[in-house]
């Protein structure tokens, strides 16, 4: 099976985080720009040595460079002061992005901003004085497009995809409801692999081939800025990739429409708009975690139901706290849908499908976010009693079954509104199946009324309470033995705010892949402004593959418990067990210090590696979840990071090309 439910390894970047991300970007990229400025200053001084008639530099540029060096000197002084034991409050730059920015952070960000501005000045000057012209860029882009078409690169791509379309169904087997997931996964994977190869080849070989064949001589001797050649190549190849993607996407959609089955249609052929809550636990050892079942992938935490032998043990709850529920939900009539897809972990040996398919039974309680757990239990009990009384009364007065059902429904809604909670027991949960529960809209109207009566506020020592909380607990499993546990993660349960068409979502996923292509193309073209075609291709590949494992590398680089490569080598050589502490000696101290330096460099390396996984949206599309346009979606999580890498690439390409002697054989 290719996909098992909707999961995200990291939270997408939100609008609220953009400012912090910008500061981070300025610090990282600004440091690189400052290094470039240092290199430029040295080269300039060497070049100007002994030359008459020095070229006048832009005073603004000189001012910015001076400020950059001054600010970095101040940051250096902070570190020096700390090394000398001088402490002046909380001013050191923070390594934890979640913490508040310190004076050191601001100094670094300001220095970075000035460095970025200094390196951007010549480019901005070229733009301002009209040296860079779209007319020429478009002409060069058209040339690149024609060249690629002439080489029939797209025909090759189409041929490979045609083979996939023809024979994929022979090899793809999946459960009926997973069919669309599988199709989307295979389509996206194939498109990605083929087009990434194409992007790297086009980007890496375009300019070097021009230089090698000397064709570029006929262009740079026209009134063409060298950077226009870079942009022309980039945009031309973007157009080729876009055309290819458009055709393949249309064919992929046709392929999907042609063969989708009913179950898959129901499961994934949509774009759900979910509203997520924050997950925490009650009745477990830790508030932020459930039970650990020993799985390597600790994405889900587990809760268990009451064991027959210890019925009075405290109950375990997975609780989703919704800070804000969309206002329009309260205006709806009828039931408000919530969907979930949980993992069921078996502690007893059975055939996989027997218990997984049978599932376990859970209770879902929707309650006012301000209510504590004990109060919720009391109100559930009160509501249950009142419900029984009202139902009994209804049975006496109403003979018609339909009217009785209608009255029962009314009672549910009245009680939900009265008590500010709604509880439903015995909901069957099946392993990795998307299922639905509903809560009456009256509950949400009540929450809104409460909010307008007394708005929720943070109290000293605690944060603002959520608007709604949903408690999930295990009643019993089908075997009645508590041998199954319920695995939950934040995104496993959500309020289904709306459902949008699959088609648009599929195209949004394609846009994600397109972003990947643009990024890898940008990297390859940038490399090709200085390196040969083959080397550019290898560098692009070298940057791409670590980009698929950024989360893992970051985890390793930030890990304080695991040893680095030298420590690991030492352990292997000595046969020392992994968990045992190393013996204390100068050699081991040296190894540990080297590993610290290695980790530091690894973290620096990560700042220049794009996280390519963020553009992989097949998880959303295949599972039928809407990809947001703006917040936590295409704009904030895809486009902004893309620009964050493309802008440095463009600046680097500008300088590499500007200072390159086109006709120099060395």
């Amino acid at each position: 099976m290719f996909a098992t439910g909707f999961y995200l390894e990291r939270e997408p970047l939100s609008l609220a985080q953009l400012a912090g991300a910008l500061v981070d970007w300025l610090q990282n990229f600004g440091a690189l720009a400052a290094l470039g400025l240092v290199a430029w200053c040295i080269a300039h001084l060497v070049q100007m040595r002994g030359r008459k008639g020095r070229k006048r530099l832009n005073p603004l540029f000189i001012a910015l460079v001076s400020i950059v060096f001054l600010l970095y000197a101040m940051v250096g002084a902070l570190f020096l002061g700390r090394a000398m034991g001088i402490r002046v409050g909380n001013v050191m730059p923070s390594t934890d992005p979640s913490k508040l920015l310190t004076t050191g952070d601001w100094l670094l960000a300001l220095a970075g901003s000035c460095a970025v501005l200094a390196v951007l000045l010549p480019m901005l000057g070229d733009l301002g004085t009209g040296r860079l012209r779209w007319r020429r860029i478009v002409a060069l882009a058209r040339l690149s497009f024609k060249e690629a078409m002439h080489r029939r690169v797209l025909l090759l791509v189409f041929a490979i995809m045609a083979l996939l379309f023809l024979f994929a169904s022979w090899f793809l087997t999946s459960k009926d409801e997973d069919q669309l997931r599988t199709y989307v996964w295979v389509m996206y994977f194939a498109i990605k692999v083929i087009f990434i190869m194409l992007a790297i080849l086009l980007g890496a070989f375009g300019i070097p081939t021009d230089i090698k064949s000397l064709s570029i001589h006929t262009i740079v001797t026209k009134p063409v800025e060298k950077f226009e050649i870079v942009l022309g190549r980039f945009f031309g190849y973007c157009a080729v990739l876009t055309l290819g993607m458009a055709v393949i996407s249309a064919l992929s959609l046709l392929y999907i429409y042609r063969g989708i089955n009913e179950k898959a249609l129901e499961e994934s052929y949509k774009a759900r708009v979910p509203v997520y809550g924050e997950l925490y636990f009650a009745g477990t050892k830790q508030k932020d975690k459930g039970e650990n079942v020993g799985r390597m992938w600790a994405y889900r935490s587990y809760i268990t139901g009451p064991h027959p032998t210890t019925p009075n043990a405290s109950r375990q709850y997975a609780i989703w706290a919704f800070d804000a529920v969309p206002a329009e939900i309260a205006r709806r009539d009828g039931a408000i849908p919530f969907e979930f897809s949980f993992d069921i972990f078996r502690m007893s040996k059975t055939k996989e499908d027997e218990q997984g398919e049978a599932g376990i039974y859970c209770t879902f309680t929707f309650a006012d976010g301000r209510l504590p757990l004990t109060k919720i239990s009391e109100r559930i009990e009160d509501a249950r009693k009142e419900k029984e009384a009202l139902n009994a009364k209804a049975r006496k007065t109403l003979a018609d079954k339909k009217a009785l059902e209608q009255r029962a429904d009314e009672i549910e809604r009245e009680l939900a509104h009265k008590y500010g909670l709604y509880s439903i027991s015995g909901v069957r949960v099946v392993d990795y199946h998307t299922l639905k529960v509903t809560a009456p809209a009256d509950l949400f109207r009540k929450l809104q009324e409460l909010e307008s009566e007394s708005p929720r506020e943070a109290t000293p020592g605690s944060t603002r309470p959520p608007s709604l909380q949903v408690l999930v607990s295990v009643d019993r499993d089908t075997a009645g033995s508590s041998s199954q546990m319920l695995g939950v993660a934040k995104r496993d349960f959500y309020l289904l705010a709306a459902e949008r068409p699959f088609l648009v979502n599929f195209l949004k996923g394609i846009v994600g892949i397109w972003f990947t292509l643009v990024l890898i193309l940008g990297i390859a073209v940038t490399c090709s402004t200085y390196l040969s075609g083959v080397i550019s291709m290898l560098v692009a590949i070298f940057l791409f593959f670590p980009g698929l494992f950024v989360t893992d590398i970051e985890e390793f680089a930030k890990s304080k418990t695991e040893g680095g490569p030298l420590e690991s080598l030492y352990r292997i050589a000595k046969g020392a067990p992994e968990a045992a502490p190393l013996d204390s000696s100068p050699a081991t101290s040296f190894l540990k210090s080297s590993d610290v330096v290695y980790r530091w460099w690894l973290l620096r390396f990560l700042t220049v590696i794009p996280d390519f996984n963020r553009y992989d949206l097949n998880n959303y599309v295949g599972n039928g979840f809407d990809i947001p346009w703006i917040d936590q979606g295409l704009f904030t999580d895809n486009l902004v990071p893309l620009l964050g890498f493309l802008i440095p690439c463009a600046i680097l390409a500008y300088y590499l090309m500007k200072f390159r002697e086109i006709a120099n054989p060395t």
């Binding site: 040296r131 001589h217 740079v220 009134p223």
Partner: protein, 340 residues
Amino acid sequence: MAGNEVVVETRKLTKIYRDFWGRQKKVALRALNLQVFRGEIFGLLGPNGSGKTTTIKLLLGLLFPTDGDALVFNQSAAEVKKNERIGYLPEESYLYRFLNAEETLDFYGRLFKIDAGTRRAKTQELIEMVGLSADKKRILKEYSKGMRQRIGLAQALINDPELVILDEPTSGLDPLGTRWMKDLIVRLRDQGKTVIMCSHRLEDVQDICDRVAILNEGELQELGSVRGLLEDVQRLELRASGVQLNDVLKRDLDEVLARHGGVIEFIGHPVTTLEDLFLRIVAQSKAHPGRRYQPERDGKERDGKDRDGKDRDGKDRDGKDRLPAARSPEVKDASTHIKK
């Protein structure tokens, strides 16, 4: 004709090639001082590796000077804006082979600020000028070298440049193409354009250049007008018509020269150049298609002598010209170069 306005100037222009580590590999050009004036054809001569192409590349901004200055239209050669007034034909016509002639000129035209209508008109005009009207829809990959050189020249002229820089413009061209190219260069000069060309083919340079610079090992060896450099004031050349060479004439001339302290070094009928001969043959062949060479009928071989060993000088037995004279008057006779 050449004026006093300096179009190109180099001041102590030096280029040293270095390797990746900055170590000196070769001094390609050493302190070159040159001035090229508006409206002249300026030739750069020199053996391989003498610095001709390096000079051109420095003027075009394809290379950066190690020292000194290269100025074009009084602007630094690194300035891109100057390229609006320059046309450049590289040694090989390195054009995009997947484009046809029209597309090629259209592409290069788009790099200048030329509106679409003018660009289309200019494209057709240049294609016609370089004689590629019949082949304008064929991609350049299918072109012969001569055709590529022609379209290369057309792209260099797309912006109606004031300065045309030609690197080995006649390289790889057949005699017809060479003549066409030379005529065109002269025509460009006559239109007031400045032409800088470098070539290995000395006869081409001699034919059309007003001034030349001779480089060797990156150093300027000689600079001046072609006539000034080639004129040999120690010798005298006399041409006459309406008279056949015989012993009496030879003796009389000898006596006259002896009275003035001179001596005959060579006397004889002028010999045409092979280029002229070739051009005449082709021209006549076009006018009257079909095979002309018939040794059985003519009874002689084309070695310049009859079977009796008498010089033919391109005439039939009846003494009439076989081929129409198509030689331009400024081309010198081969006899001036022959020494006894």
